[in-house]
Every structure is written in C-alpha cells, then in structure tokens.
C-alpha cells in the first residue's frame, strides 16, 4: 500500500485535548486503508473550505433488499479515489447495544477486509454503522455478516431499525421488556424493515420508563414508554436513610413533584397516588426508597420527528396503558393498523405524525378503534369549531 500523504494541519488541531479524537481514529484506519486515508484528505479540504464534498447518494444495496446501505459519492473523486464510493452499511445492532468481544471482533475483521475500517458505534437511529465501502463490496459484506447472524438495518421509506434503552438488562425501573419488545418487533417486521414500501421512514423506540433514556418521545414515530398502575411502593426505612445521608427530601423531592401529590410527615413520605402523573422524578432520585407500582405496561405514543416540513413534533399519547407480554400481538396489531391508515392517506415523504396533524386525530383514532380520552391531550380545543357525524346528530 503506497498511500498519498496528506498534510492535515487543521485536523491535527483536533487530536489535542482529553476527549478521544475522531481524527486519530481516521488516521489509525488510514494507516492500513486507502479509503480511510483519502477520507482524511478530503476532510482536511472540507475544513479548509468550510463545506462538504459529498454528493447526493445514489441507490445502492444488496440483492433482495431495498435498504440498509447509504450510497455516498465524492464530488472530487479524482483527487480522492479511495472515497469515490464511500457507502455506509447499517448493521442492525443488538437490543440495548449489548455485545460480546467476540461478536464485535468478528465484525471488525469483516470490515477491515471489505471496508474503510471506520465505524460509528452507533448511528443515531441505533444501527451499528460501517462507514465507507465500495459498491462491489456490498454483497460480500452482507454474506459475511449475515452468515454470522447479523442482518442489515433500515433506510429509506421503511421501518427503521428499532432501538431501546438498556431496560431489564440492567435497570431497576424498566416496566416493560424493552430488549425483547425491540427484538420481537424487529423480527416480526423484517419485510417492512428491508423493503421500503411506506410513504416515508417509520421509527420505533422503546423506553422502559418515562425517564426515556432512548429519547423515544422525541425521535420515534412510535414511542413505547413503560409505566405502571397502582401505588408507588415506599420503603420508609430507606426514606429515612436518605434523610440521614443528608438529602433535603422536602426541597429535592416533595417540592419538585410536579403534581404536588407528595408530602413528608414525620420523616415519612406519603403519596396521593390518584394525583401522581408518574413523572418518575421521585423514584429516580430516591431509587432505594421508592419504586413504581406493581401493574406494568406501556404508554403508546406516536408521531415525533425532526422539523421538516411542518416543524419538529414530539410523540403524543394514543394508548395510555397497554400491557405488553410476548408475543405482543396487541402491539403488533396496532402497529399494522397504523401503517394501513398511513399507507392509505400519507403523501410521499409524509411522516405519520404529520399525517395525523393534517387529517386530525379523530380519523386516526377511529381507524384504530380507539375511544377518545382526555389523556390524549394536554387540554381540549379552544375554538368551538368541530365536526359532527350523522350518527351523533341522530342520537
């Protein structure tokens, strides 16, 4: 390998300082890989010119799949032939991002052989992203990875790779089996994941509780968030321990409870559970003393996304409480129905959240056969403009 040697004075600045350096990483890969080396070169140019040097991706992929690979081409291919093609391969990560050394090493071996040696662990949708390869290596990469039990993630107008928080794998608050739900949905909807046939992308993120460590409420068309019914479990001895260790329970917990449903009497916490909104604050800050109630399920929310075209959206409640046990048929049915409605009415590049805003919640809820309940809204409408059906008038 006789490589072009790039001077990278600007990028070199980014090797200083305590935080691990991506420049160092590129250089590490560059030492054994031409593509990575040319990436270094073109990136220095980008830093110099303060602009990108990539072109729109063409459609590339593996046989039988419509997604999983992001095609990417340089607009200066002659100067940097190693990145003339520089596609990324999205490998469907494991639920909760758990790995073994062996599994990761396997992937590294494949990637050193067929790719740039650079990766993203992980993409912000959750995929294990292999960053930079050429069109003719794609089939090989797929054969190597899939034969070892890995599959591609999503891209394009498809279900995107579902992801979740660590959940029951290591967290005391997980009220749903985030890892298993994510696995089960991914398996169930393989076709929807690999063969784009939707109006636009559809993301699913599952959080074990309202703390939402996977940012489900903000970044998923379908947000599943674990929650409970029943009273918060209180261990008063531990409450006293927290106080003994110096916690200002009144100030940090009682006064910060958003519903004002807590009180502290003689060092014991009392909760008016009927007014608790299950926000998780008290539980998170007093994990030894307070635990969620015993009946577990999920709040189902839909529609969050980035700003295009009508402004960023957060997901909103459509089912306040759904018990979620394998095989999750209730959830799968609901998802299928959502898709059916979206498929029918969604315009090209219209996310489901935007469609709900455009056509109103009523039609969506009626299609899903969900009754309207106040938990679906922060507040009722203000302007007295609304529709009646013939049915409603006649009764």
């Amino acid at each position: 390998m006789s490589q072009k040697k790039y001077e990278t004075p600007l990028l070199d600045e980014l090797e200083k300082g305590p935080f691990p350096s991506f420049v160092t990483e590129i250089k590490t890969a560059a030492a054994k890989n031409d593509s990575a080396n040319d990436l270094l070169g073109v990136l220095e140019q980008c830093y110099r010119e303060r602009r990108t040097h990539w072109k729109h991706g063409g459609i590339v992929g593996v046989r039988g799949y419509g997604g999983g690979v992001i095609g990417r081409y340089s607009d200066v291919p002659n100067e940097y032939p190693g990145v003339a093609h520089f596609h990324t391969v999205r490998i469907n990560q494991t639920s909760g991002f758990f790995y073994t050394s062996k599994a990761l090493n396997d992937i590294c071996d494949i990637w050193d052989k067929y790719g740039s040696g650079l990766t993203n662990l992980h993409g912000s949708t959750g995929d294990l992203v292999l960053l930079g390869t050429k069109t003719d290596a794609l089939e090989a990469i797929f054969a190597e990875t899939s034969s070892r039990g890995w599959d591609l993630g999503g891209s394009g107008s498809a279900m995107r790779t579902p992801s979740c928080c660590v959940g029951p794998g290591r967290c005391e608050w997980s009220m749903i089996d985030t890892l298993d739900i994510t696995y089960a949905l991914t398996q169930e909807f393989q076709d929807e994941l690999h063969r784009p046939a939707f109006p636009y992308k559809f993301k699913i993120k599952t959080a074990g509780c309202g703390v939402d460590c996977i940012a489900s409420v903000a970044r998923a068309d379908l947000s599943l968030i674990g929650t409970w019914k029943g009273d918060i479990q209180i261990d008063q001895a531990e409450v006293k321990n927290y106080a003994a260790k110096g916690m200002n329970i009144q100030g940090e917990i009682i006064d910060m409870c958003p519903t004002g449903c807590m009180s502290l009497n003689g060092g014991e916490i009392a909760i008016d559970n009927s007014n608790c909104s299950r926000c998780m604050h008290c539980i998170a800050k007093m994990t030894k003393a307070l635990r969620p109630g015993k009946e577990h399920g999920a709040t189902i929310m839909v529609g969050s996304k980035a700003p295009f075209v009508i402004g960023a959206l957060l997901s909103h409640v459509i089912v306040p409480f759904m018990p979620l046990e394998p095989p999750y048929d209730n959830l799968k049915d609901l998802i299928r129905k959502m898709w059916e409605w979206w498929d029918e009415h969604g315009k090209n590049r219209e996310r489901i959240g935007e469609l709900i805003v455009r056509r109103g919640m009523r039609e969506f809820l009626e299609f899903l056969e969900l009754d309207p309940i106040p938990q679906m809204v922060f507040e009722p409408r203000r302007d007295p403009f609304y529709f009646w059906t013939e049915d409603e008038l006649n009764k």
């Binding site: 600007l10 691990p20 639920s95 991002f97 690999h194 980035a306 295009f308 075209v309």
Partner: protein, 358 residues
Amino acid sequence: MADLPQRQTDIGPPHYMQFLPPVAQKNYGQWKYHEQLSGGSMVHVAESGDKLWTVRAASPRLISTDFIRGLTALADKYCGGHLRFTTRHNVEFLVSDESNLKPLMDELKQKNYMVGGIGDGISNIVHTQGWVHCHSAATDASGLVKVLMDEFADYFTGTKTLPARVRFAVACCTNMCGAVHCSDIAVVGIHRKPPTIVHEDVKRACEVPSTIGSCPTGAISPDPANKSVKIKEEKCMYCGNCYSVCPAMPISDPDNDGVAIVAGGKIGSLRSNPKFSKLVIPYLPNNTPKWPEVVAAFRTILTAYENGARKHERLGEWIDRVGWEKFFSLTGLPFTHQHIDDFTIARETYRTSAAFKW
C-alpha cells in the same frame, strides 16, 4: 466471490440474551437499585443481592476497528467479554466481579480513556455525519463534538458536576439527525442563502411535485419553460429541504453557512414534560477547526445555568422558571428578529400577557 459464506436474509439481529453478562441474564428484570460510585462507575444491585458494576468511557463514535479491538481486549480481560454501548455513544464495561473493577479503571486511566459520563454532568454528544459522510452538511459534527467535549471534559469525568444532567447534541443540517430538537444545548448546521437551481439537472434528476412539496414555506413553484422549478427568494429561509429531495438545488455556501445554537430542551417526563429546544443564537460561523465562538457560547449558557439553577433542575426547567427574557439578560446573548417565531405555531410563542420581567 465464490468463497463467500452463504448469505441469509431477513434473519434480524442476533438475540440479545446471549450478549448479556451471566449475572444480567440471571437477574434480568430483577434489578432493585443502583448506586453511582464515581463520575464513570456505578453498581446495579439485584433483588437477589447480585451486583453488576458498570464502567463508562467516552468514545468519539467515529472509531476505527482498532479502537473497537482495544475495547474488546479490555472487556475480555475484565468483563468476561461483555460490554455495551449507550444511547449516547459511550462504551460501558460490564463488570461482574468486583475485584476487576479497580484494575479495569486503572488500566483505562493509564491508556488515556476518558472515564465518566455518569450522573449529573455532561455526557457524550449525540451527533451526526457532517463533512465526514453527508452531502447535506452545513457544518461538521465530529469536530464540534471534539472541541465541546474537550472544553467540558471536567463535567464528563465527574471532576465537576452540575445541578442536573446537561445533554448536548449536534446536527449538521436542519434534517436534524442529531436529536437537537429536545436537547439542553445543541448545535445545528444552517445555511443563509437560497439554493441555486441547476435547471438541466432538475429536468434529469428531480421529481418536480415532491420538490415543490418539500418546501416548508411554499417558496418553490413550477418553471414549465425550463421544465424545472423556480424559487420565490423572499420566501426561502434556506432550510435546504429542497436540496434533500432534489440534488440539482445545491445550497452550500461556505461564507454564509454556519451553525445555530438551541437550548432548553429535554426528553424525560421527570418534573416537567418533554420540551423542545429553542433558538438562542441564530448564527455562528464555521470557524474551523475549533469553532471558538460555539464553544464560548456553550460556556456562557452553561455558566448562567450553573449559577442559577436549583438542584435537579434541568436547563430548560431553569429557563422556564426564570423566564426567557431573564435568560437573555443573564447570558447577555443578543435577541434578534430571528428569535421570534414566524413558522407554523408562531402565534403560540407570542407573549400574550403583560406579566414579564424587565
């Protein structure tokens, strides 16, 4: 490629259970509580009394296979080969045997890993591709992450703490792949000039109706003469969505591209509902390689927060308590026409009350 193994399709990812450390398999869903041990370590205790220690270290996310092999070597040595990544790109070593905890941490330190990210401080930055891989980027992401994390390293390692978690994000364009829209403080790449239209290419490469439909402000209309589209420039706010849909409308312009800073978002439902981030600085230049203006802006905002917030109060909660008018006076950041919303829900942001602070 005859020597390739037999491909398989639609198998999905491997089953997660095999990757969990045995103690996590055994105590799956039976965790009782956790304790933070340091800025980068914590222990989870199961109902059974079993324990699982976690040591967290920073990763730049854009990493080489060698970096990964470095991690797996440590995992093999101290964790029975078990490790995971977090939703913020950190790596977590999952230690089942307490006696491995200190040696692991020592070795991490010795090898210059940056251990931290746990508790009330600044964790790693959710971010995107930038100039490393995306045609759409108005700024780079990895570079911004690097300079910000260097600047605020002490809040990652736990040397310094904050009233609550402060979550950063970076997105290199308004597609916002880095979930900027609900972050405590975040950067988003922006343009400031309308796209140019390369009519011949529009004809060839673009679908006119979806190009028109992509424009949030309805600035694009058909240009039948050219079999192309035209832009009503005074309606264009340079979002670049047309360029996402139609490559024949390049928008990048080094002298006018740059970043905006948004702040005050949050995700969890604790105390207050999830909140969108709001615009705090409409434009800072792409002053490569170190974006000093961006770093300074983050410092300004963070300092005001640190001085003003109550314990457990997130940045957006602090701002909501004191009011945005106070935020601007406390930070000294200028307030401009760009701050006043004129997009879809603009009117809900107008101050329809005579109660505000001077």
